[in-house]
C-alpha cells in the first residue's frame, strides 16, 4: 500500500500535466481536500497567519466596455501573474486590439513571435517593480520571445565541456522534475485539512517567537502582508531601497535600449508597464519610498512609454489590493487596464 501510494505521489509530482489537472481540481474544492495555499492569498499561503485568512476572488477582471474602434493592433505581451491571474488575454480587453500573444516571464524557452503584416505590432512589457531591474533587459526579453537560441552567439565562446553540460541537463530533466519538491508539498500538504496545523505552527512562530516566513512581513498597521523583498530597504527590489540619480539614469538607459532593440526588430511600439510594489502604494510604513517609477518617467533621457498606475492605485488604495496577497485585486487590475487603454487610444 505504502509503495503504491508513494510511487503514485512521485509519478504525479513529476508530471506537469498531472499537476495541472490536480491543482485545477483541488482549487475548485472548498472543503478540507481543497488546496489552500493560494485560495486565501499567496502570502497567506507562505505564512498561514489566521487573521489574514480571507477568501480571495480568483475570477478574471470583467471585460471593459470599450468604444467601437477599428482594430489596429496586435499586442505581444510579456507579463507576470499580475496579468495572467487577472486577465484571460482576450483581445477585447485592449483598445483597438485584434490579436493578443501572451508570454509569461516564467516560460522556460523563448516563444517565437509573429509580427502582423496588417496591424501595428505593440510590444507590452510588464512586470512588478521588484523585478523590473533584472527582467527588463534585452537579454532577458530575448530569452522569452525570440525564437533563436541564446547565449552561444555573439561574444560568448562555447565551453569546452558544453556537451557534458548538455548531457547533465538532459539526465537531470529526464529523471528529476525541476519543481518536484514544490509539487510534493502541494500533493501531500496543500490541503485544507492541514490548515489547522499550519496555522498553529504559524501562531507559535509569530506570536511567541516573533517570526514569520523569511519572505513575508506584516505591515506596521497589521492590516497587510508584504513580500520582504519589497519592504526591506537592503533589498534592491524594495520600494525603500535608496536609489541614486545615477542608478535611475542607468535604468532609463536599460529600458531605452530595450525599446530601440525591439523597434529595430519590427515592433511599431514598445510600451513598458511597471506595477508598483503594493507597499509603495498603500503607504502603511510611514516612510518615503524611492519613487523610482516616477523618477524614470520624468528623467530627461527617458524616451519610452511607461504605464505606471501608482497614482491611480493610491486613490482608495486598500480597495485595490488583497491584504494577504502580493498582487492587486480585480479593482486594481481594472484601474491599470483603464490606464493602458488610454495609452493605446493615444497612440
Amino acid at each position: 500500500m505504502v509503495l503504491f501510494f508513494l510511487a503514485f505521489v512521485l509519478i504525479f509530482g513529476s508530471s506537469n500535466q498531472g499537476m495541472r489537472l490536480l491543482s485545477q481540481r483541488r482549487y475548485i474544492r472548498q472543503d478540507g481536500w481543497g488546496a489552500d495555499k493560494f485560495s486565501f492569498g499567496d502570502l497567506y499561503g507562505l505564512t498561514y497567519i489566521k487573521p489574514f485568512k480571507m477568501p480571495r476572488d480568483t475570477s478574471f477582471v470583467a471585460l471593459p466596455v470599450l468604444e467601437t474602434d477599428s482594430v489596429k493592433y496586435k499586442m505581444h505581451i510579456i507579463g507576470d501573474s499580475y496579468l495572467y491571474s487577472f486577465f484571460s488575454m482576450d483581445p477585447r480587453y485592449f483598445k483597438k486590439t485584434g490579436e493578443v500573444q501572451f508570454v509569461r516571464w516564467s516560460t522556460p524557452k523563448p516563444i517565437p513571435y509573429r509580427l502582423s503584416k496588417d496591424k501595428k505590432n505593440i510590444l507590452l512589457i510588464e512586470c512588478v517593480e521588484r523585478n523590473f531591474r533584472n527582467l527588463m533587459t534585452v537579454k532577458e526579453i530575448r530569452n522569452r520571445i525570440e525564437a533563436q537560441a541564446q547565449s552561444n552567439s555573439g561574444s560568448q565562446t562555447a565551453s569546452r565541456f558544453e556537451f557534458l553540460s548538455r548531457i547533465n541537463s538532459r539526465l537531470k530533466n529526464t529523471f528529476y522534475h525541476p519543481t518536484l519538491e514544490n509539487n510534493l508539498e502541494f500533493l501531500l500538504f496543500n490541503l485544507g485539512i492541514w490548515a489547522p496545523f499550519k496555522e498553529l505552527k504559524s501562531a507559535l512562530n509569530f506570536y511567541i517567537f516573533g517570526r514569520l516566513d523569511n519572505e513575508v512581513r506584516v505591515s506596521k498597521n497589521w492590516k497587510q502582508l508584504y513580500l520582504t523583498q519589497t519592504v526591506d530597504p537592503e533589498k534592491v527590489g524594495s520600494s525603500f531601497y535608496p536609489t541614486s540619480d545615477e542608478e535611475v539614469g542607468a535604468y532609463v538607459a536599460q529600458l531605452n535600449e530595450v525599446q530601440t532593440y525591439f523597434k529595430s526588430k519590427g515592433f511599431d511600439q514598445v510600451i513598458f508597464s511597471i506595477i508598483p510594489n503594493p507597499v509603495g502604494v498603500l503607504n502603511t510604513e510611514n516612510k518615503p519610498t524611492n519613487q523610482i517609477l516616477s523618477r524614470i518617467a520624468k528623467h530627461p533621457n527617458w524616451k519610452g512609454i511607461l504605464v505606471d498606475p501608482s497614482l491611480r492605485l493610491q486613490k482608495n488604495a486598500k480597495e485595490n489590493f488583497f491584504p494577504s496577497d502580493s498582487h492587486w485585486n480585480q479593482r486594481g487590475a481594472a484601474i491599470w487596464l483603464g490606464q493602458l487603454n488610454e495609452t493605446l487610444k493615444a497612440l
Binding site: L3, L171, K172, L188, K201, L204, F209
Partner: protein
C-alpha cells in the same frame, strides 16, 4: 536530495517498501539503482567520476589478492593515487594552484594557471576515503577482494552514507549485503526513531541556532563580545546537531533495512580532553586517519619528536580533508597543537592528565576547558577569510562583554535555544538509555517527536554543513 526534504521522504519510503517486497537476491540491485538515483539528484554526470573510482578500486582489489611483494605495493599505490588524484583535481586544484601562483608572485615569477571552474562532486571526500579503506584492507589481508562488481559498487555507493558518511569499513559493510534481511518490527522502529531524532537535531536545533550564528558572523565588525561568544557557542552545537543529525538519519535509514552502520558520534562535548574529543567526534573519520595514516607513519612507536610530527600531520590533513582552504588547515593544526600541548604538559606534570581527575569539579573543569578549546577552533572552521578571523579576534580583544545580547532572535526563542542545547547535552550522556525508553513507547514517542519537530522546526531547507565536504 537532502535528507530534510519531501523528495527524500518519498524516495526512502519507495525504496524501503520495495526492498522488503523484493526477493533477497535482487535487493542489492534495487539498492544500487536507488543509490545511483540518489547521487544523480545532485549532478547526474558526476556518477561517471564515482564509476571511474569504483572500476579502478574493484580491479585493484582483485589484483592485490593475486600479487605479493613490490607488485602488490605498486597496485595499492596506484589505486590510492587514482583516488587521491580525483580528490586533487575536483577539490584541491584551485587551492593548490592559487598557492603556487601566490608563491610565484612573491618570487616575481610569471605563472599562468588555467582556471578550472568545477563544482565539487557531492560527498567526494567521503566515498573516496571509503573506497581507499577497501583497497588498504585487502592489501593488509583483512578483507577478501569482492568479486561481485555490483556488491562492490554498492559498498561505495550505499545511499544512506554516500554523501556524508559514516565512512565505513569493508569488513563491516560488505558481508551485510549478502545477509538476507527480514522484517523486524523493533529494528524498523528503532531505525525510524533514529531518523526522526536526526531530523529533530537538524531542523529544531541546528537550523534554529544558525539564525543567530549567521546573523553574527555575517557582520562581525558590528558585534559585541557577548554576541560573538554566544554565536561561537551556538555554532559548536549547530555543527554538532547538523552533522550528528545527518549521521542519525543515515544510520537510522540503514537500520530500517537491516544494515548496521558504525556510530559516528558519542557525546563529544562530554570529552575531558582533546584526544577524548576526537574519540567521540566524527569517529569514522578519526579512526580512518588513525588506522591508515597515523599507524602507517609509526604512530607513537617512534621517537617523541617524530610522534608529535605524526600528530600534526594527521590533524593538518584532517583539516585539509574538510576543505580546500587555509582556515580548515589552521582549524586542524589548532587541534594538533592542543593535543601536543596536552601531551607535553602531561609529560612534565603527570598529575595534570585528564584521566587523573577524580573529583566532580576537576572533571568538569577539564570538560569546560576542552569545550572552550574546541569552540575556539570552530571559529576558524566557520570563518573562511583571514581578514574576518582577524576582525573576530580584534572584536573579542575589546572585551566588550558588558553589553547584553543583541540579536534579532526573540528572547523566548533564545531561551528555547539554550534549553534545547542544555537538554541535548544532558540527554546525550545517557543516550543509550534514552533511546531505549523512546523505543519502548514507540507508538507514543515517534508521533510526538514528529509533531514537535514539525511545530518547532525551522524549515528553511538549509543544506547539511558536511555536504560541502
Amino acid at each position: 536530495m537532502v535528507f530534510n526534504s519531501l523528495q527524500f521522504l518519498v524516495f526512502f519510503g519507495i525504496v524501503t517498501s520495495a526492498y522488503f517486497l523484493m526477493a533477497h537476491k535482487y535487493r542489492w540491485l534495487l539498492l544500487l539503482l536507488a543509490s545511483c538515483y540518489f547521487y544523480m539528484a545532485f549532478v547526474p554526470i558526476y556518477l561517471g567520476i564515482l564509476a571511474l573510482t569504483i572500476v579502478i578500486d574493484y580491479f585493484a582489489g582483485i589484483l592485490l589478492e593475486q600479487h605479493e611483494g613490490r607488485t602488490k605495493k605498486w597496485i595499492l599505490a596506484l589505486s590510492i593515487v587514482a583516488n587521491v588524484g580525483v580528490l586533487a583535481v575536483f577539490k584541491y586544484y584551485q587551492f593548490i594552484f592559487n598557492n603556487i601562483s601566490w608563491f610565484a608572485h612573491l618570487l616575481d615569477i610569471p605563472v599562468e594557471m588555467p582556471v578550472l571552474s568545477i563544482l565539487l562532486p557531492i560527498g567526494l571526500s567521503f566515498h573516496t576515503f571509503q573506497a581507499m579503506s577497501y583497497t588498504i584492507e585487502v592489501y593488509r589481508g583483512n578483507q577478501k577482494a569482492e568479486r561481485n562488481f555490483g556488491i562492490y559498487s554498492l559498498y561505495v555507493m550505499f545511499y544512506p552514507q554516500l554523501v556524508a558518511g559514516p565512512i565505513e569499513r569493508p569488513q563491516n559493510l560488505i558481508y551485510q549485503f549478502y545477509e538476507p534481511k527480514h522484517w523486524d518490527r523493533h529494528r524498523v522502529q528503532s531505525g525510524l526513531l533514529q531518523m526522526v531524532i536526526g531530523i529533530f537535531k537538524k531542523v529544531v536545533i541546528a537550523d534554529r541556532l544558525s539564525m543567530v550564528v549567521d546573523e553574527v558572523y555575517g557582520n562581525i565588525g558590528e558585534q559585541s563580545g557577548t554576541n560573538l561568544v554566544v554565536a561561537a557557542i551556538f555554532y559548536s552545537f549547530q555543527i554538532y546537531c547538523d552533522f550528528s543529525g545527518y549521521s542519525d538519519v543515515a544510520i537510522g535509514a540503514a537500520r530500517v533495512m537491516g544494515f548496521r552502520l558504525m556510530e559516528n558520534f558519542n557525546a563529544p562535548y562530554w570529552a575531558t580532553s582533546i584526544p577524548e574529543f576526537w574519540r567521540r567526534w566524527h569517529i569514522s573519520l578519526s579512526t580512518w586517519f588513525k588506522d591508515y595514516l597515523y599507524i602507517s607513519l609509526g604512530g607513537n612507536r617512534v621517537s617523541v619528536p617524530r610522534w608529535y610530527l605524526n600528530i600534526m600531520i594527521i590533524f593538518v590533513l584532517s583539516g585539509l580533508w574538510h576543505g580546500a582552504s587555509w582556515n580548515f588547515v589552521i582549524w586542524g593544526a589548532l587541534h594538533g597543537l592542543f593535543q601536543l600541548i596536552g601531551l607535553i604538559l602531561n609529560r612534565l606534570f603527570p598529575f595534570l592528565a585528564a584521566d587523573q581527575r577524580k573529583t566532580w569539579a576537576g572533571i568538569w573543569a577539564y570538560r569546560l576547558l576542552t569545550f572552550f578549546l574546541v569552540t575556539l577552533a570552530w571559529v576558524f572552521f566557520r570563518i573562511a577569510h583571514f581578514s574576518t578571523i582577524k576582525l573576530w579576534f580584534s572584536r573579542m580583544a575589546l572585551m566588550d562583554f558588558s553589553s547584553p545580547l543583541n540579536v534579532s532572535m526573540a528572547i523566548k526563542e533564545f531561551y528555547l535555544s539554550v534549553f534545547l542545547i542544555v537538554g541535548l547535552f544532558a540527554l546525550e550522556y545517557k543516550r543509550g538509555m534514552v533511546k531505549e525508553r523512546l523505543e519502548t513507547f514507540f507508538w507514543l514517542t515517534f508521533p510526538l517527536l514528529v509533531l514537535v519537530t514539525y511545530f518547532l522546526g525551522v524549515f528553511n531547507m538549509k543544506q547539511f554543513i558536511y555536504f560541502q565536504f
